[in-house]
Amino acid sequence: MNELTLQAFEHFVGRFGTEVDTRLREARTAEDVEAIRVEYLGRANGKLTDYQKQIPTFSGEERKLAGQQFNAVKKLIEGRLAETLTELSRVTRLSVPDVDLTMPSRSQFRGAEHPVTVVIEEIVEIFREIGFTVATGPEAETEWYNFTALNFPPDHPAMDMHDTMYLAEDVVLRTHTSPVQIRSLQAGPPPIRVVIPGNVYRLDPFDASHAPMFAQIEGLAVDEGISFVDLKATLTHFATRFFGATRTRFRPSYFPFTEPSAEMDVECRLCKGSGCPACKGTGWMEILGSGMVHPNVLDAAGVDSEKYTGWAFGMGPARIALQRYGIPDIRVLYDSEMRFLGQVAR
């Protein structure tokens, strides 16, 4: 071995500490540990032992420092060797017959997202893959954003579809996530491709199938050349990704802010389309409402409705969660019971 500078000596010697540590992690038996000991600390040709011979080549203060470094690392290695032997003996002890290995594991508390959040995130992920980003907006909205800009005729039966909670004469708790459509259209020029998850409010009594607040997720795509074919294609793609291979159908519907409007159904998963009580004999399950964005909506948001077209959809993730887990009463989703949340946690 050539003569080393003190720095190189300290470097090489120090490295053995970590090296041995790594090696010992693979040791499975006391014999493995002994082999490693011999390799590094063996009286003849031990890797570390070899460096001991270098110490006298230093002089004065440096010799002292080299000696200290050497001893520290040697001590460290000896300590790790001993610890490993102890650990190994402990492992060995576990296999003696008086340990009952049928006893349960030591677990930890698990956390989980709410089932409705899980559904929302699955939906968001699918739309992300096809170029959508996420938009959000306030839950307290002006009537203009919630109704007027969305082409709701004032004092019209269409308003009966939205039993509304008012906070002031012209301020409401949003009855749908659609006001965020307007905000997204106002925020910047198309192309716009957003999904909008959020809570919405209706003046509905809290019972097995209604809640005064529930989640909705909505989507909006606006650009030049967007058509009903894009609506059908994208939502069919979504249904296939979300529900697995399935048939879909589109049927006429009505929303003030879309025209044409369409409801999308997927084949009933229980009866595979042959008709059962769950789908009222139709073979179809209603999944979402959709339509081409009404030109009045684009105009209200300051987007040229002759140049740009678009489509939108909206759906209720809570209903999907109820179906998915077979929950008969929507209140279960709001009770915040640890027992329920643990049951449905993934």
């Binding site: 300290e10 349960p104 039966p157 005064p212």
Partner: protein
Amino acid sequence: MNASYEWLREFTDFDLTPEQLRDVITSRAATVEEVISLRADLRDVVVGLVVEARPHPNSDHLWVTKVDAGMGELLDVVCGAPNVQAGSKYPFAPSGSTLPGGLKLERRKIRGETSNGMLCSARELALGTEHDGILTLHTDAAPGTPFLDAFPAGDTRFVVDVLPNRPDLLSHEGLAREISAYTGNDLHMPEHPGMSAAPAFEHGTSDGSTGGVRVSIDEPSACPLYTATVIRGVRIEQSPEWLANRLISIGLRPINNVVDATNYMLHGFGQPMHAFDLDRLRGPEIHVRNARPGERITTLDGVERKLDPTMTVIADADRAQAIAGVIGGSESAVSDATSNILLEVAVFDPRSVRSTRRALGTSTDASYRFERALDAHASAELARYAAALIISLAGGRVDGAPIAVGSPGPSPHQLSLRVSRVAKILGEHVSAPECMRLLGSVGFGVNSGENEMLRVTPPRWRSDVALEVDLIEEVARLRGYDSFSDQLRPFRVGSAPDSPAYVVTRRVTRALVEAGMMEVRPIPFVADAGEHGVRVLNPLAESEALLRTSALQTLARRVEHNFAHMTRNVRLFEVGVVFSRGPDDRIPVERTVTAAVISGDRSPAHFTDPRPAQMDIWDAKWIAETIVRSAFGQSGQSGPELQPNAARDGWDVVHDGSTIGTVGPIPVDAPVWAPPVFGIEIDLTAAFGIVPEPVVYRPLPVTPAAEFDLALLVPADVVAADVARVIRTNSGEMLESLVPFDEFRGAGVGDGYRSIAWRLTFRHPERTLRDKEIEGRRARILRALNEELGVRPRTT
């Protein structure tokens, strides 16, 4: 809207089963939610083939037969009908089935011979009164076929969800129009026996008279058109079976021939009508006027209602006799004693009817249709038809020329339809001739203009069609939504970044789930929200009339709910919104917060550790740090700090000088066994837009570390953070970590002191530290601690 299969047939022919009809209506017009066979009581009955019939050994009029009912074996059935014949098919009700009227069939012996069911007569199946013998079926259907499949009997009801844009579908005529557009068969007025044309109308502008009754409209804005027909000499009786069946088929109760006729018109044509007993009308006069302050009326449903001047009524010379467009009054209702009637067929303003029925808190079949606007141009003609129908049912004659006061208003405007715009919206080219054909099939008038531009006049009953895009929807639905491609086409991706609120709440949600917390999404209404609370003006209940100002308020109740179900280990969190009154008292201030509550065991019990430690404020502090770290990133200096708040035994979360959160024990209404509850709530708004700084790799050390411990006596007025600060300042760059690992008060530690043990780890990046270097630092630290804080080592 309930519709009957047989009733629809009055308007147009079709060769469709009820299920096929359901699919046609659903795919083209409005969703059929339910198809109800009105003879479900026959569902157990099957086609039975009598294979053998011989006289009963113990009876002179009974037969013993062997019946093939498709069950794989022949059944012995005793039958008393004289017309039973081997080789013929009959309706067969096997034992175990229930017959109309509720008779449940059991297997039994009849004079010593076993009978496994019953061959049925028409009367036993409630298909008529004939009881001469069992019903012979002339059918090819195999034995065992459900009877209703082989012998369609009884009507089918469709429950149709008609949305607010299609009031024209609120009648059998309207639905039949859509069916006829599909089949190509014509749409015609139903014909009933004994109907002959009633006299034509005379028209007046705001008043006039007919048959000795003066009619005036004082409120033309609420009632654009009012027609009155006086019919004298009617006999009030039960309706004939066909009419009664029509009403029963859609779930209505027949009342008498005149009232049933008006209901038939409402559901048949969508035009509400009302018949007054003419002899009960004072004057006799009809005034369409506003109700007087304090005016009262007892309506047909027996309820006495208080009216106000915003409501429109139909009054005689003295008082209100009907609430316009909503419900008639009981005083002038048609009764068995009625012999002269005034038939009202009017058009009331949608908004006026809507506000009246909302104020009254009642909705009727009539108000439902008026609110959605009906075809005013059809009203007079329908009044003539109705008069003819009433006379055919109840006799009598029209007295004088019926009168129509007011006007039906303008006809729909002509619209332009660009064929190119159809393709732009729908994504597929639909030719001009096809557009014309489709629109024409449901009554639109279409002329082709120049340059692929169509001139379209909507039919009178489609007041909802006012824009080009409305016509495009018609083209789409009539062509069939399913006829359009669903192949993905190229698109441009969205350019807007994810909403910062979403990004931050997702980061926090994931971090808390990793920390073992359960997410909840509770209702944010509370009974009390303090002085800044936002009130819902029209709440569901006073107990939930306010929006919460704090999410912990909601979660505390959720903890109590868990305790009430004997769950003691609770770890809940929510990312939600809280509200407080805004500066203008109009739009509330809305903030996105994370709140969490923890209580109970720190880990699940295990046989090696049956009594795990309980969570305490240090767990709460960790959850708070987790939220802060995930929301604001690990940037350290700029992020929020947890500042001790002795008053609440917890911490304030302070960011940029303002408090954005709290951490500490929270009060809940808890049973005695319940563990303490800790709550954390942090406003995330300040984190929106923060992008966590990238983490930069530092080479892992190859040199050994040097550690030493300091056991320090800390005076009561000195906090750990101060000790740590002094240690750090005096340790130099090589201090790798500093951890207080033990705290102790009591024996050996003087009063007013506590002992905190710290572990200090030093490391030089390139070489081993020398004992002397370590020693030097220890001395310097201890000196500084003593001088600056009066902190001394415990062992000297």
